[in-house]
C-alpha cells in the first residue's frame, strides 16, 4: 500500500481492489502514511489460485464498486489525527493486585501474552542510567503503526522484559539494527510468513553480560537472550502494532513472535578463529550485533560423518530444502525479492563439534560455503515452477535436472554457536529485501 499512497500523493486518484483478509492491514498502513481516506474495494479472499469461474465472479462483483469508488465516492470527512508529544510517556495510577495489573496491560494491548514487570517511573529511571542518551530522543517510528519509540520507552520495555540497566546499550543497538531499511521491519512484521527476528552477538559483551552462546543458548535459562528477545516483540507488537489477526498476517505465527531469537557466537570454540563480526570488518574487541529476519530454522543431526565433505553433504540436504516452495532456484544475494521471490541467503549455526569436523577439510568458511553452493541442489520438479526458471545460459534441462539453490558463497553464512553435541541449525532468511544488518553496541 505504500506504493498506492505514493501515487495518490502525486495527484493521481487511486482505488485498490484488496483481498478482504488484507484490507485492514492496508487501511492501517495508509492511515500511518497520512492518507486515511484512500479508497478500497474488498474482494473475497483468495483473489487467485482458484477456478476461473470463481475469479470471474469476484471480478464481476468488484467491478461496479471500483467504478463507483473511482468516479463518485466522497469520503465523509478527512480523519483528523491527533498528534501529541511522544515524551514523556503518560504516567498512570494503578491500585490492585499484580495479576490485575498484568491483565490490564494485556487488555489494553500493552503486553503480548507473557507476564511483564510493571514499568514504574522508578524502575524506568534506573534503566535510563544505563545509557547517556536523552530519554526524549526518538530512536524509531516503528512500522506499521509508526509509534514513536523514545529512549524512555526503550527503558520502559526493557523493564517490562526484565532487562537490567547494563543492557540498555544492547537494546539501543537492537533498535538501530531493526530500524535499518535493509532489515525491512514493515514487510517482516506483517507478512503471512512465520518470520523470526534473529540477533547474533559478538564481542567481549558476551561474557560481560552473560549472553548465552554455549549449551542451550537458544533455549531456557538464558536470561539475557530471553529478555532481549522478549523486548523486541514487545516493541514490535505494541509500538509497531504488529498484532494478529488484522495487522500481523502470519498464517501460523511462530514462537519467534513472542521471544525473538537472540544468540551469541561461541568465539572461543570457533576453529576458524575469525568471528562473524570480524568477517564483517569489525575489530575482535568490538561489541557487535547482527540482525536479520529468518524463516523458522531446521536442524542437522549428523552424528556419524567424520569428514568435512560428508558433513557438508548432509547439511546441504537441509539447506536445499529449507523454506521449501518459496526457496527459488539460482538465487543471487544482490537481486531483490521482486525479481526472484527467493530465499537469498541462510545462516548456518554450527555446533562447535560440527565446526571442527568441517574445519579439518575446509580451512576457511568461504571454502565451506563454496562447497555448499555446489551441493545445495534439487531436481527442478522440487521447486515451485513459477519461481524457478533457469536462464538460457544454464543450458538444456528437464524436470529431473539438478538445479542449484544459490549462486555464491556470500549467501551461506556461518557462525559457530552452542555447546557439545553433533548438532547444527539452518536459519534461512525471509525472502523480502531483508539483509543482515551489523551494528556496533556503543556504551
Amino acid at each position: 500500500m505504500v506504493d498506492q499512497s505514493q501515487v495518490e500523493k502525486v495527484g493521481i486518484p487511486t482505488v485498490t481492489a484488496s483481498s478482504d483478509q488484507f484490507t485492514g492491514l492496508a487501511k492501517n498502513t495508509v492511515k500511518s502514511l497520512g492518507l486515511p481516506d484512500m479508497a478500497f474495494v474488498d474482494v473475497a479472499h483468495p483473489m487467485g489460485m482458484i477456478s476461473l469461474q470463481e475469479i470471474r465472479a469476484r471480478a464481476d462483483e468488484a467491478f461496479p464498486k471500483i467504478v463507483q469508488m473511482a468516479t463518485n465516492w466522497k469520503p465523509s470527512a478527512t480523519a483528523v489525527q491527533k498528534i501529541t508529544p511522544a515524551y514523556p510517556a503518560e504516567r498512570i495510577k494503578f491500585k490492585g493486585t499484580y495479576e490485575a495489573l498484568d491483565k490490564m496491560f494485556y487488555d489494553k494491548g500493552w503486553s503480548i501474552g507473557l507476564p511483564i514487570i510493571p514499568p514504574t517511573p522508578e524502575k524506568v529511571a534506573a534503566m535510563l542510567k544505563g545509557t547517556k542518551r536523552k530519554p526524549d530522543e526518538i530512536v524509531w517510528a516503528v512500522p506499521p503503526r509508526m509509534g514513536q519509540l523514545t529512549v524512555e520507552l526503550v527503558a520502559a520495555y526493557g523493564v517490562m522484559a526484565r532487562c537490567k540497566p547494563e543492557h540498555m546499550p544492547l537494546l539501543l543497538a537492537v533498535v538501530k539494527a531493526l530500524s535499518n531499511p535493509d532489515y525491512d521491519w514493515r514487510g517482516n512484521s506483517t507478512t503471512t510468513a512465520p518470520t523470526n527476528p534473529v540477533i547474533i552477538i559478538n564481542g567481549p559483551i558476551l561474557d560481560e553480560l552473560g549472553i548465552g552462546y554455549s549449551t542451550g543458548a537458544l533455549g531456557g535459562e538464558m536470561p539475557v537472550n530471553i529478555s532481549v528477545g522478549y523486548f523486541i516483540n514487545l516493541v514490535g507488537d505494541i509500538i509497531g502494532g504488529s498484532v494478529p489477526p488484522e495487522i500481523d498476517k502470519s498464517t501460523h505465527g511462530s514462537r519467534g513472535d513472542l521471544v525473538a531469537v537472540v544468540i551469541g557466537e561461541n568465539e572461543k570454540l570457533n576453529p576458524w578463529k575469525q568471528s562473524y563480526a570480524v568477517e564483517q570488518g569489525f575489530k575482535p574487541t568490538d561489541n557487535v550485533l547482527t540482525a536479520y529476519s529468518a524463516y523458522m530454522g531446521n536442524i542437522n543431526v549428523d552424528h556419524t560423518s567424520v569428514k568435512g565433505e560428508e558433513l557438508l553433504n548432509t547439511m546441504a540436504a537441509g539447506l536445499a530444502g529449507a523454506a521449501s516452495g518459496v526457496s527459488a532456484c539460482m538465487t543471487r544475494f544482490d537481486r531483490s525479492y521482486a525479481v526472484e521471490n527467493a530465499v537469498r541467503f541462510a545462516f548456518l549455526f554450527l555446533g562447535p563439534e560440527h565446526a571442527d569436523t568441517i574445519y579439518n577439510d575446509f580451512r576457511t568458511k568461504k571454502s565451506a560455503s563454496e562447497y555448499l553452493v555446489k551441493k545445495t541442489v534439487l531436481p527442478l520438479w522440487m521447486y515451485a515452477p513459477a519461481r524457478c526458471k533457469p536462464p538460457k545460459e544454464f543450458g538444456p534441462y528437464d524436470a529431473n535436472t539438478p538445479i542449484p539453490r544459490f549462486t555464491g558463497p556470500e549467501q551461506i553464512r556461518i557462525i559457530v554457536t552452542g555447546g557439545p553435541g553433533k548438532q547444527s541449525q539452518i536459519w534461512p532468511t525471509f525472502p523480502s529485501v531483508t539483509k543482515p544488518v551489523s551494528v556496533l553496541i556503543e556504551k
Binding site: E8, P13, S32, E90, T97, I138, L153
Partner: protein
C-alpha cells in the same frame, strides 16, 4: 495437674492463633498485602503521523481515460488482474489500460517505475492480493 494446665494453655493459645490467622486471611482488608498501588508508564507510544491529507478528486468518468493497473505481483493479484481488465474493457471500450507489475518490496528501479505509472495514468487501480 500443673503439666496438664500448661498443655491446655498451649492448646488454647494455638487454637487462638489459628482463629486469628484465619480471620485475617478472610478479611478483605487483610488482602492488602496482595494489593499494590503504583504508577506505571503507558507504553503504547504516540504515533508519528503524517498530517492527514485528503485524497484526490475522483474522475468524472472512466470513458476515454488512461487507467494504470498496479499489480503487487503476489499470486492472488496475478490471477485476478486479467479478469478484472476483461470486465473493465467490456464495459469501457474507450479506456486505455496499462499494467505495472511492481512488488510491494523495494528494489533498485521501483521509484522510477512508480513515477512512470503516475505520469502515464489519469487514475490507478491497485491490486492487493496474496
Amino acid at each position: 495437674m500443673q503439666r496438664h494446665g500448661i498443655k491446655l494453655f498451649l492448646t488454647v493459645l494455638i487454637a487462638a492463633c489459628f482463629v486469628i490467622v484465619s480471620a485475617f486471611s478472610l478479611c478483605p482488608d487483610a488482602n492488602a498485602a496482595g494489593q499494590v498501588e503504583l504508577k506505571v508508564l503507558e507504553p503504547r507510544a504516540e504515533l508519528l503521523s503524517a498530517p492527514a491529507a485528503p485524497i484526490n478528486t475522483r474522475l468524472k468518468t472512466l470513458e476515454g481515460k488512461k487507467i494504470g493497473i498496479l499489480n503487487n505481483t503476489k499470486p492472488g493479484a496475478d490471477s485476478f488482474q486479467p479478469y478484472l481488465m476483461q470486465v473493465l474493457k467490456e464495459a469501457y471500450p474507450t479506456v486505455e489500460f496499462k499494467v505495472w507489475n511492481i512488488s510491494y518490496n523495494d528494489y533498485p528501479n521501483k521509484a522510477n517505475e512508480l513515477k512512470e505509472l503516475a505520469a502515464w495514468s489519469d487514475g490507478v487501480i491497485g491490486l492487493l492480493g496474496d
